[in-house]
Symmetry: C2
């Protein structure tokens, strides 16, 4: 079977350095109906949850804290965490963090919450 394929590998870390603005996830690759995104964040995000899907966080650079209603999880470079569907969470970064998100196409970054930090979807970089 012949199908087209990407000609080169992608460096999520390098892609993340090309993003101008914080809290603005950019798609770098797709796998079936899932997307790999990179995002730069700093400060406090909004409490939210995704009722229909789990969401994977993989830290590229910096120290990320994910707050939950019952505690928090700390991630450094190279750490992976999957937030289960329906679990309220709030990412926090005292200093800038660059990370990769993996989730189904079309997931809204602020989940059920919305608000001014809601990012446009499906922007590639």
């Amino acid at each position: 079977m012949n199908a087209s394929r990407p000609t080169h590998a992608i460096s999520p870390t390098r892609k993340s350095t090309l993003i101008d603005d914080l809290w603005s996830p950019r798609v770098i690759a797709e796998m079936n109906d899932y997307q790999f995104k990179v995002v730069r964040i700093q400060g406090d995000f909004v409490w939210h949850s995704h009722d229909d899907t789990d969401e994977a966080f993989y830290v590229l650079d910096g120290e990320l804290r994910i707050d939950f209603r019952d505690g928090a999880v700390e991630l450094g470079p190279g750490d992976l965490y999957v937030v289960p569907r329906g679990v309220e969470h709030k990412p926090f970064a005292a200093q800038e963090v660059r990370m990769m998100l993996i989730e189904p196409r079309g997931v809204k970054n602020t989940g059920d919450e919305g608000g001014e930090l809601t990012a446009e979807n499906d922007r590639w970089i």
Copy 2:
């Protein structure tokens, strides 16, 4: 909504150092019906394809080459590549490579090819 959540982040790199054998993917996390796996490889794998799914490769350590019928792609540490469904490929590592695979639960490592390098599925580490 209350749902259980993992208490700690996972380091795929550290998990990969715990694997005793080559070509034996181990599951480290799940996201919906997808699995994150780590694997140590060295040498030549078999030509194969997965007709039903794309497959994501993320290199943790070492230099990976993925051979295709029409060329090859090189991945170093921190590089990501998604092999599209139906595309024949053959991973190759001159020296040991540790990497993360992301794909739907139940995908057989040798795809449609089988053979002695076919690994048991759903082994966690």
